[in-house]
Amino acid sequence: MDYKVRLEVFEGPLDLLLHLIKKNELDIFNIPIAEITADYLNYIKFFRKLNLNFAGEFLVMASTLIHIKSRTLLPSMETAEEEEPEDPRAELAARLMEYEKFKEAASILKEREVIQRDIYGRLPIVPQDEDYTIEATLFDLMDAFQKMVFRVEKEVREIIQEDIKVEDRIQEILNLLENKRFINFETIFSGQRTKRLLIVTFLALLELIRLKMVFARQARLFGDIRI
């Protein structure tokens, strides 16, 4: 075998199959599947012998080919009925057709690439760092921040007006405590953005302490309070 001729780089199993079909001048819609499978497997063996790295996709295609071959060899069940038996090669042919189109498209792009490589725009003018400016003033920055803070406050206020009850907060605190021996006082209050929410949380906590469902402990004077 003239290995040198065969040593080409294939983009994938479909590329290799197309190559085999072209080389043997076969009809894509009437592939002699036994022949092409043997040919394909020879290539795989050959790649192996050369220790060439090839992707697993080549093996997947090999098993697909063998599967199609076995189906063509079996007497078709459908023939008993009047229906036209489906050609097991049809799907493969469709895939090959589509792949071939894009292969062609790629070669047209390649031509354009070659033309375009010979056309030069100007070398870019590299701007000096100090030439860069920004389309915003300090005032815009302050303004954005103030508006945002205002917006956030309003949103939170609207949420509170919806309904935040002490009972709900109690449940939330108990959820927080679940599977934990203690949590820090601050943890319970973190995320409480408004006074109203802080008060509700505090009331909930007092209620829990009254019910002796939780205990407040302070390890050191002015240290963290643990619940």
Binding site: V9, E11, G12, P13, L14, D15, A55, E57, M61, R95, M97, E98, Y99, K101, F102, K103, E104, A105, A106, S107, I108, L109, K110, R112, E113, I115, Q116, R117, D118, I119, Y120, G121, R122, L123, P124, I125
Partner: protein, 177 residues
């Protein structure tokens, strides 16, 4: 503004920029309120460059205009510009790009189905080279990323816009049949 003046300003702007400038951008900078006037002036300039048999040409690429050297003088420019990286796209990159160009927006899975091989590496390279961009996510389980071609893609291949992709016309009728 007079037409001659418009043309001169446009020449200056196109000369200065190393990227294509759109009609909209040119119009905005020149402070006129008529795209057609700009377009007419650009096209006049383009014709003038052709007629006077210049070493330069006014190209219509990537939805804009740019002054570039003509192909036949590339050899001399390359000599001046020794630092030029001779970067060329691999065949797998070109195949992947043509699938994206024609089928965009398209997922990695769809590309892999057509090419029959893994596309993650080549997609990363194309994204790095900014020839491909992420155009969104498909409304499917896993929300796969959708890929499309970029402005740089058009520039790289010297295309005016996507409709100019020569391959589209050839593939379209076949794809449906």
């Amino acid at each position: 503004m007079e037409k001659e003046e418009l043309k001169n300003i446009i020449e200056c702007l196109l000369f200065f920029s190393d990227k294509p400038l759109s009609i909209e951008k040119l119009t905005e900078i020149m402070e006129i309120d008529n795209f057609d006037e700009t377009k007419e002036a650009v096209e006049d300039l383009q014709k003038e460059y052709e007629l006077r048999n210049s070493g330069l040409q006014v190209l219509n690429i990537a939805q804009g205009y740019q002054i570039c050297t003509r192909n036949e003088f590339s050899r001399w420019v390359r000599k001046l510009y020794k630092a030029q990286t001779t970067f060329q796209l691999s065949l797998s990159a070109l195949e992947t790009l043509s699938i994206i160009a024609y089928k965009q927006p398209v997922t990695r899975g769809e590309i892999e189905k057509i090419r029959g091989v893994d596309a993650s590496y080549v997609l990363r390279t194309l994204l790095e080279k900014k020839l491909v961009r992420i155009s969104g996510r498909k409304k499917l389980p896993g929300r796969p990323i959708l890929y499309g071609t970029s402005q740089d893609f058009l520039r790289y291949f010297g295309l005016k816009d996507l409709s100019e992709i020569p391959i589209l016309e050839e593939i379209k009728p076949q794809a449906s049949g």
